[in-house]
């Protein structure tokens, strides 16, 4: 009995380790792909949250104290003096709008250092207040805020806590709720959408093409007078519709459950998006699904069976997820139109742009048209493959 068990184990190992494709897709690919994905993510995140060398953070400041200016030496903070009144209001407006050249507005009371030195908590009065206005949606603004707060913390400690930073209920984060919702969705949704769309395709395409090939049912179709191009187009269109529906189901579930998942975060409100965003999103989703279905169809037509097709499609799925992750990182975002000719990357970038309410319609157009063109080339290739005896009848 024990010998039989060993015999079975040996047979299973022989089946696995003598199949080069299986070894490649099961043992080599996952490790390699995870290494690549995590390395890219790590590099991206380091660039996202770290301050790029040589990049200055612009701080507009009213009544800049000498001590703070001295403590800020060696940091990327660059100060521009404000005279107060309209000038300060203008800087705050620029910060709210996310305009270039203003990452933080700091308002110190006049003679701040003297006031701080004279302040005695026992007297019961209010401590001198420093107001730091920032926009949490802007990465540079958040970095400037963190850096300034750190400098003030150190300075305050040296003065034995003689002033307050951002006292009271005033709103110092100038990002609007609309911006915060858009930022949240643009961070989360493109990656999830890429995963959902790919999963939707994976659920139906390998089964419909490699599965039919494996079961011998596609040969029954090939023996009819139907044109190969009609078979290829019929498959791709029907599978795309199913994959879009599957992707939409996942998308709806995600959009509805995200607030609950994130513990009822206040600023997540999908109503910030209008009909234009949804129409642009539809164009990107449909063209992306067409492209993914075509890619997976070609791989499935090459594969001998569903299992092999799934194995070969995995790297494409990982690349697609990688592009989804890249859309979360500013460093990977390109605005040049040529970048939107790169399949899958263009889809993730467009989704990120649409959800952050900062999208160039022309880039979406380039993405949709190029994806449809690539799908058309894929359909042509698939038609040829359906006519190829080597591909369709290989064992």
């Amino acid at each position: 009995m024990k010998n039989n068990m060993v015999t079975v184990i040996k047979k299973e190992f022989r089946r696995f380790f003598t199949d080069r494709r299986m070894v490649l897709t099961t043992l080599v690919m996952p490790g390699l792909m995870i290494y690549i994905v995590y390395s890219v993510m790590g590099t991206g995140l380091a660039s996202q949250f770290g301050q790029e060398e040589g990049t200055a953070l612009q701080v507009s400041v009213e009544n800049l104290p000498q001590g703070i200016a001295a403590a800020s030496k060696g940091t990327p903070l660059e100060f521009t003096e404000l005279s107060g009144g309209q000038e300060t209001d203008g800087a705050l407006e620029g910060l709210r709008e996310g305009a270039e050249g203003c990452d933080l507005v700091a308002v110190f009371p006049k003679d701040f250092e003297k006031l701080a030195a004279a302040y005695d908590k026992a007297d019961g009065g209010d401590a001198p207040a420093v107001r730091l206005y920032y926009n949490s949606v802007q990465t540079d603004s958040s970095s400037a805020y963190d850096m300034m707060e750190e400098i003030l913390d150190a300075y305050e400690t040296s003065l034995a806590n003689k002033f307050d930073v951002n006292p009271g209920d005033e709103k110092y984060d100038l990002a609007t709720e609309e911006d915060m919702s858009a930022q949240f969705f643009s961070m989360m949704v493109p990656m999830l959408m890429m995963v959902f769309l790919f999963s939707g395709c994976m659920a139906v395409v390998p089964e419909s093409i490699a599965g039919e090939k494996e079961r011998g049912t596609i040969a029954t179709l090939l023996v009819t007078p139907m044109k190969r191009s009609h078979l290829a187009l019929g498959k791709i269109i029907s599978l795309s519709v199913i994959a879009v529906l599957s992707g939409l189901s996942s998308f709806l579930g995600t959009m509805l459950s995200l607030p609950k998942l994130m513990g009822g975060v206040q600023y997540m409100d999908a109503s910030v998006y209008g009909i234009q965003e949804y129409l642009l999103m539809l164009a990107v989703v449909i063209s992306t699904v067409l492209l993914i279905v075509t890619l997976v169809s070609i791989v499935s037509a090459f594969a001998k069976n569903v299992k092999e097709a799934t194995g070969w499609v995995t790297p494409i799925m990982i690349v697609s997820m990688l592009f989804g992750v890249m859309s979360m990182l500013d460093i990977a975002s390109q605005t040049g139109m040529a970048w939107f000719l790169i399949p899958l990357y263009n889809s993730a970038q467009c989704m990120g742009g649409i959800f952050s309410l900062d999208v160039d319609v022309w880039n979406v157009a380039v993405t949709a048209v190029s994806n449809i063109c690539y799908a058309g080339i894929g359909v042509f290739a698939l038609t040829k493959m359906f006519g190829s005896e080597k591909v369709m009848f290989s064992k």
Binding site: E212, T217, A219, T220, V223, P225
Partner: protein, 260 residues
């Protein structure tokens, strides 16, 4: 008699993979499956291709059905070339092989309508034909059952019926009674004779001598991809029964081939 199917000097070679080379202990990179094969099937006759496994019968039938192309030569199906107009050829023939399977999720009823549509049969004709064929093969009571739930014999009957939804004049069957129980095999054999009676041209490949003797008008014996003998059944069996004649030819050809 009208030549409905003309096989002209066709050759088909397959590549031998490195793995197959190792298994077969050969250094040959290619294998000739069909080697300059020629024969003709006339209107209203049953032509039998007889040969052992691996002789090239199925490859020949696949070329006739325009599923694969010959490397050399051509096959004319009612005047249409499998090389130049494969779509035309596929419209003119009915092809059935055990390798062609039906989607098990669907019912015979649905599949009949689906394939009728692919062959461009109008709905009224398709409905009439379905009633006739389902009745003949006793499929009617299973018409709404999924193919997955049908017996092997019933699946084969459904496959046969679906291969001729468009009432083709030329019917090509690869091992038509293989794996069938005696009752289903008899139904299929009787149906082939019925089709012949209606003027259809039928090409069957088989290694069952009794089937050839029962239904074929002419016989081609294939060995190693070549036509070893081709004549009327009457002439081939003039001196000896078919089985004995076959083994005589086999011994003669194999002797020549395998001693090399």
């Amino acid at each position: 008699m009208r030549e409905l199917l003309k096989v002209q000097n066709v050759k088909k070679t397959f590549r031998v993979s490195a793995r197959q080379q190792k298994i077969q202990r050969t250094k040959e990179r290619t294998k000739v499956a069909v080697d300059r094969l020629s024969f003709t099937a006339y209107e209203g006759e049953v032509f039998g291709l007889l040969g052992p496994n691996g002789a090239g019968k199925t490859t020949t039938l696949r070329m006739m059905a325009a599923l694969i192309s010959p490397d050399e030569g051509d096959i004319l199906v009612d005047g249409s070339s499998v090389v130049k107009s494969p779509d035309e050829v596929r419209a003119k023939i009915g092809f059935l092989t055990s390798e062609l399977k039906l989607e098990e999720f669907f019912t015979p009823n649905y599949l009949f309508d689906f394939f009728s549509e692919l062959h461009g049969v109008d709905k009224a004709t398709a409905a009439r034909r379905k009633q006739e064929l389902f009745g003949k093969f006793n499929i009617s009571e299973y018409a709404e059952m999924k193919v997955a739930n049908l017996s092997t014999g019933m699946k084969q009957k459904v496959s046969l019926v679906i291969s001729i939804v468009h009432d083709p004049d030329i019917i090509i069957f690869d091992e038509p009674t293989n794996g069938l129980d005696v009752l289903t095999a008899k139904t299929v054999t009787d149906f082939l004779l019925d089709l012949r009676g209606r003027g259809k041209t039928i090409v069957v490949s088989t290694h069952i001598f009794s089937l050839v003797e029962k239904i074929c008008d002419r016989v081609g014996i294939i060995l190693d991809g070549r036509m070893a003998a081709c004549d009327t059944l009457e002439n081939i069996t003039a001196e000896k029964p078919l089985e004995e004649k076959f083994f005589d030819i086999f011994a003669e050809k194999a002797g020549g081939t395998y001693e090399k």
